[in-house]
């Protein structure tokens, strides 16, 4: 999978980091950063949970 983030829309809620800290982190301003934009398939469910939890629809996951 490949992950893209719309950082312009991020409100730093941290929901993605809670759901999947292996893939998502926050910069000094709290804006989402990707630890790995192409994580292993085993993390698919957690990545999708992060995308669903995001209050600002920032995370897009391509297979």
């Amino acid at each position: 999978m490949r992950i893209k983030t719309d950082t312009e829309k991020c409100i730093a809620s941290g929901a993605c980091v809670l759901a999947c800290p292996e893939v998502f982190d926050q910069d000094d301003d709290g804006i989402v950063t990707l630890i790995d934009p192409s994580p292993p398939d085993a993390l698919y469910d957690k990545v999708m949970e992060a995308a669903a939890a995001c209050p600002a629809s920032v995370i897009h996951v391509e297979p």
């Binding site: 312009e8 409100i11 941290g14 809670l18 301003d29 669903a52 939890a53």
Partner: protein
């Protein structure tokens, strides 16, 4: 170090400011990213970057415990710090994600009914040729939705809404040393006491007879074992407060802005896919939660400026949301803007838990309005009242 920071003198309570805060906020924003206001004894930030950095910086800045204890009867989730905050917020977080709300048919139907209940009498009056103040009926929509999510019996909904409205008077910024101010505080205390007493009864019931509602989820969560009784009650009453006036006021702004911009209203009527962006633009330009406060923790800084521990910072969400560095022609209401996150729902770990519920309620309202009353106009000027903190028309008359 107040010396290094420019000072301003602003009377935020001036009715002229409440009616139109934009020009004042623009003036303040142009002075410096952070300024000092001796009248209210606080720093003020009015531009996007600095405001987001203060609100989002939970290590450097916290909330004021005293307000939460008084308003909600205890330490609610918003006064907690991470990691505990995330644990407690996590109890309800999954229930408020976008899909959980929008895909549950019973919920969307309940919201639609709550909206119709408020809108049908308005529509009837309008079609009969009358003029009607939209504001009074809006309050019931979000409180009925919360009452449903709490699993409260229908016969309690009206009383629940009334108590919630009184609890909300805690945000009226009237100084406590005026008669009106004292009256508001007294009513707010009565409302909070009654609401929290009722919630305590419900919490007790749900301990023994759990349901599918939010209160059952809270009391039966393993995290609740580490919460005091006060914290459980306060977290419930904060949810009521957080989702009530805010949502009602956002709907009022939606009605007003679309009255003032009929061509954009027409475009929305023809193409409902524009609704989500339109609602975000209403939120950006109206910012019902006009400001939030943060209190400096030891070592707090804003850029190069050191803020003394305990000093208060007023974070103007309204000012930040019209920052020309972020939005071109920011004073213009334009539903076709490219979506860019604003601070209308806050920022950081304490950002609004209910934002998808709010969006769903406003979307439901707006769809029904566009269907039932495609064309309407203002009947007289809206009255913005005195609340410059949680701001919206307190009277908004419309006619066909």
């Amino acid at each position: 170090m107040v010396d290094a920071v420019p000072t301003v003198d602003v009377d935020f309570a001036d009715p002229a400011y409440v009616r139109d805060p934009g020009p004042t906020l623009r003036r303040l924003r142009e002075i410096a990213p952070i300024i000092y206001d001796p009248r209210l004894g606080q720093y003020v930030t009015c531009e996007y970057r600095t405001t987001a950095r203060v609100i989002g910086n939970a290590k450097g800045f916290g909330n004021q415990e005293a307000f939460f204890l008084e308003a909600f009867g205890g330490r609610s989730v918003e006064i907690m710090d991470n990691p505990r905050h995330n644990e407690v917020r996590g109890i309800w977080a999954q229930r408020f994600v976008r899909d959980a709300l929008a895909q549950e048919e019973a919920r969307t139907r309940m919201i639609a009914q709550s909206v119709s209940g408020a809108m049908d009498p308005l529509v009837q009056t309008l079609r009969a040729g009358g003029s009607v103040d939209v504001v009074p009926s809006l309050s019931t929509i979000p409180t009925v939705v919360i009452a449903n999510m709490f699993g409260l019996p229908t016969e309690m909904h009206e009383q629940f809404s009334q108590w919630s409205g009184e609890m909300g008077l805690h945000t009226e910024p009237e100084p406590a040393n005026t008669e009106r101010g004292r009256g508001l505080v007294a009513r707010a205390k009565v409302g909070t006491a009654a609401l929290t007493a009722y919630l305590e009864e419900v919490i007790d019931e749900r301990r023994t007879v759990p349901g599918d509602d939010l209160i059952s989820a809270l009391v039966h969560s393993p995290v609740a074992d580490s919460m005091s009784h006060q914290e459980i009650v306060a977290t419930c009453s904060q949810l009521v407060f957080a989702g009530h006036e805010t949502t009602a006021k956002l709907i009022a702004h939606t009605v007003l802005l679309l009255a003032e911009h009929p061509s954009q209203r027409a475009a929305l009527r023809e193409d409902r896919s524009l609704l989500p962006a339109a609602i975000e633009e209403v939120l950006r330009i109206s910012s019902p939660v006009q400001a939030m406060w943060r209190y400096a923790r030891p070592g707090a800084r804003v850029g190069e400026i050191e803020i003394a521990e305990g000093d208060k910072v007023m974070c103007s969400l309204a000012g930040a949301n019209r920052d020309p560095e972020r939005w071109s022609d920011p004073e213009r209401f334009d539903i076709t803007r490219e979506p860019k996150q604003h601070l209308g729902f806050g920022f950081g770990t304490h950002s609004c838990l209910g934002l998808n519920l709010a969006r769903l309620e406003v979307t439901t309202w707006l769809n029904q309005l566009l269907n039932e009353v495609p064309s309407y106009q203002l009947d007289g000027e809206p009255d913005f009242g005195t609340n410059w903190v949680l701001r919206a028309p307190v009277r908004l008359r419309v006619t066909l």
